[in-house]
């Protein structure tokens, strides 16, 4: 048996998926969280049931890449039944999709999810009548509390095609190949269905979440709220996690206990110097890779993922598209582009996948470029905020301002060069919701697990590469080659070259290298600013590069990486000279 979960965006398909399979896929409160199909096995009834989670669609007429993904699954594979997860508050849209799904001649089960929110708004559905008219089984659920899931499972086991009076009526009035005309017909028929089966007892008033929601999207209140959110992130991730958190982990836990313990153990038990160096030397797997990964990056990404999870689940992120649409217009995009960009602050690799929610090829390409160039990922951002917080708040604003400037200039230029067009701005805004502590915890945990699985091996690989090149004296040779760039152009110490080399593997690893330099007093203010700008703009990490290849093609990925590499160094050089020039004239910008 194979079941596909289908539904409008942001109705809780992934929550249902998690509830049925016991697996975890990311759940958030914004449309477009799921861009890739997840598969899981559910065990209930007699056998195993394959469950497929799909990206949200409003119709089976695909207009964007993620809608295409869903359509392909339904039309090509051997799905035995469809569970349509629907927002019980939005019956019209839900039923319009139901009618479309029924055309596939696969049994459909209609899951009216978030039925608690619908009840709060006084929406009452005559389930029995609706089920008869549609010829479809209907189950009411509240997925986050697992209400109704047991009934849903029972219903899935019994799924079969039933005669549908509504479908017969639609078919008897003739068919049309024109998508708009058939959509129109469906909507008419949905209107009638709703008149017969849905009652709104008292029209919804303004709830607290609606008030708060509207404050976040009005410029007068929305911009200050955004600043507050950013300031809070700076304090929580930059000051608290990257400052106190890292201090404790690096200086106390690793500095006083973990590393001394391993170093002593190695000294005593391992007689061969080379192996000892490999484990606990300057470029040791334990003393460098593991220390960087757990003592520096780990506290930072934990804080960031927690903070980000709350933002995601509150429904705040898509609201930013309302505020930013007009700004994105300047660079050939629309407000929808803010979603992948902000997700890029979490992880550029995942964000590059999320560009699928954008409608045109040009938009996807532009956002991919900006993600590669100017958006630091969570770990990197945390390290950067940590370093900047040691300078001043002004330094943070300067860094932020310069990046915005780069983004606008490069975005504007690229939008003129890249052929194609922008799509109009139409964005659904989810309601503001109180984040569920449990979901935040589960999500943060899943992300940390993913981070450790992906980052730690690369950290070790990078350290091994440094270790080998150090022993073979290649490191010196590479540093000699790059030192004109690093030392003369950027005005940084030779040692910083290492940070950039490991930055090829992961940018946060590179940033961590710089962090160590700055904490040990090897960088002055201008050097900190320049090195941070360069490592931010620097090439994507390996994972992001591969996803870019997969999504945009090898040629485009190479072009982007080449451009970004050259741009990062030239721009960093420019800033270096400018800051030094100003400093020489007694103007301290930082």
């Amino acid at each position: 048996m194979k079941i596909a979960l289908v539904g409008n965006p942001n109705v809780g398909k992934s929550v249902i998926f998690n509830a049925l399979t016991g697996k975890y896929v990311t759940v958030s409160n914004y449309p477009g969280t799921t861009v890739e199909v997840s598969k899981g096995i559910a065990k209930f009834g007699a056998g195993k049931i394959t469950i497929i989670d799909t990206p949200g669609v409003n119709s089976l007429e695909p207009h964007s890449e993620d809608e295409q993904v869903t359509k392909d699954i339904l039309s090509k594979s051997d799905v035995t039944a469809i569970v349509q997860v629907a927002d019980a508050k939005n019956m019209k849209r839900s039923l319009s999709l139901t009618l479309e799904l029924m055309n596939l001649n696969i049994p459909v089960i209609l899951d009216l999810n978030m039925s608690d929110e619908a009840k709060e708004r006084g929406i009452k559905v005559d389930i029995k009548k609706l089920s008869e008219r549609l010829g479809v089984e209907i189950v009411e659920t509240v997925a986050i509390t697992l209400d109704g899931i047991a009934r849903l499972k029972e219903t899935i086991l019994k799924a079969k095609l039933r005669p549908s009076p509504v479908k017969e009526e639609l078919e008897s009035s003739g068919s049309s190949n024109n998508a708009i005309i058939s959509l129109n017909k469906r909507l008419k028929s949905v209107d009638n269905l709703i008149k017969e089966t849905v009652k709104v007892i008292h029209p919804s008033g303004n709830s607290v979440s609606e008030w708060l929601g509207s404050f976040t999207i009005r410029p007068l209140t929305g911009v200050p709220i955004l600043c507050l959110v950013l300031a809070f992130m700076y304090l929580f991730v930059g000051k608290f996690a990257a400052g106190e958190g890292v201090d404790f982990m690096e200086n106390v836990l690793f500095g006083k206990f973990v590393n001394p313990f391993f170093i002593q153990a190695a000294d005593r038990w391992i007689p061969i110097a080379l192996i000892r160096d490999f484990l606990v030397g300057d470029y040791g797997v334990l003393t460098m890779a593991v220390t960087y990964a757990f003592a520096i990056i780990f506290p930072i990404v934990t804080a960031f993922f927690l903070f980000f999870g709350v933002l995601e689940d509150s429904g705040y992120l898509p609201r930013l598209s309302v505020l930013s649409d007009r700004i994105f217009k300047i660079i050939g995009l629309n407000g929808r582009a803010i979603l992948p960009m902000i997700l890029g602050l979490g992880c550029g690799t995942m964000a590059t996948l999320t560009t699928r929610i954008l409608d045109t090829r040009k938009e996807r390409l532009l956002v991919t470029l900006l993600l590669t160039l100017a958006i630091p990922c969570s770990a990197q951002l945390g390290v950067i905020m940590g370093m900047l917080s040691s300078l001043s708040g002004r330094a943070f604003l300067l860094w932020f301002g310069i990046l915005l400037f780069v983004m606008m200039v490069v975005g504007f230029a690229a939008s003129k060069v890249v052929p194609g067009q922008k799509s109009p701005f139409i964005q659904e805004i989810p309601p503001m919701r109180m984040p569920q502590i449990k979901n935040i915890a589960v999500k943060t945990f899943a992300r940390l697990k993913w981070y450790l699985k992906e980052a730690v091996p690369l950290f070790i690989l990078g350290t091994v590469a440094l270790f080998v090149s150090d022993k073979l004296n290649i490191l010196k040779w590479i540093e000699d080659i790059f030192s004109p760039l690093v030392v003369n152009l950027l005005g940084l110490p030779v040692k910083a070259t290492e940070a950039f080399i490991i930055g090829f593997l992961r940018r946060d690893y590179g940033a961590a290298g710089l962090y160590v330099l700055s904490r040990t007093g090897q960088l002055d203010k201008v050097q900190i600013m320049v090195s941070l700008l360069v490592i931010t703009l620097f090439v994507p990490c390996i994972a992001q590069f591969f996803v870019t290849v997969k999504e945009r093609g090898m040629k485009t990925a190479l072009l982007i990486a080449g451009f970004v590499f050259a741009f990062a160094f030239l721009f960093g050089g420019g800033v270096n000279f400018l800051l030094r020039y100003l400093l020489a004239r007694g103007i301290a910008v930082i």
Binding site: N58, E61, N90, R93, A179, S204, D325, R326, I426
Partner: protein, 219 residues
């Protein structure tokens, strides 16, 4: 059909063919014959409405202004029947044909004002603008207006969507933004935010200009 009706009908056909880029005498003649049951080209030429240039038909200034008038009235009538009287499409066509001949200049202007000086007929063809449109522009408060004219807090019932871009229209409709639906405007700047059913949707102004609504008084 009375003679004057035949002349007006023929002129509107010539106008419509010209919009499609057709001015060939034979082709246009055929269209007219199909609708009016008589080849009106010779009589039209005799009355000074058109002249022949080789195989092509050209409207004289007199013909031009008459053709424009009748086309305008015809398309305004269509809008009126669909938007305000909410007549089904099928019935519209037969009604509109009769309607256009009995509308006086004054009535035409008031219908146009009522409809908010629409730019296109329900088929998507341009409605030639009249004096009232130029005078009024957007300054007159009319009943059917683009969504972009509404201010926050107001509600309206969608009358029609102007957009002719197919995917965009489909996207709006599948979000529940369809004719007949009541929407509330939550805010207008920097983007339009509206509420349809329980869904909040943000739109750019360009799209809001293409959604025409009947303004409703606050409930």
């Amino acid at each position: 059909m009375e003679r004057i009706h035949k002349i007006e009908e023929s002129l509107s056909i010539i106008w419509e063919e010209r919009e499609k880029g057709v001015s060939d005498k034979e082709a246009v003649g055929k269209s007219i014959l199909g609708k009016v049951d008589e080849n009106m080209l010779e009589p039209l030429a005799r009355d000074g409405y058109i002249i022949f240039e080789g195989h092509a038909i050209k409207l004289t200034p007199q013909g031009e202004s008459r053709a424009k008038d009748i086309t305008r009235r015809q398309r305004l009538a269509e809008r009126l029947l669909i938007d305000v009287l909410e007549l089904p499409r099928k019935e519209m066509d037969s009604f509109a044909c009769e309607f256009e001949h009995i509308i006086s200049k004054e009535v035409e202007a008031s219908i146009c004002t009522l409809l908010g000086h629409p730019k296109e007929c329900p088929h998507g063809l341009p409605i030639p603008s009249g004096d009232c449109c130029l005078k009024a522009k957007a300054s007159l408060a009319s009943i059917v207006v683009p969504l972009s004219n509404l201010s926050s807090g107001e509600t309206g019932k969608i009358v029609y969507l102007l957009t002719r871009n197919h995917p965009q229209l489909h996207k709006l409709m599948s979000l529940g933004i369809t004719p007949g639906v009541t929407i509330a405007v939550h805010q207008t700047f920097p983007s339009f935010v509206i509420k349809v059913e329980e869904t909040q949707v943000a739109l750019e102004e360009e799209i809001a200009k293409e959604i025409y609504v009947k303004k409703l008084h606050a409930a």
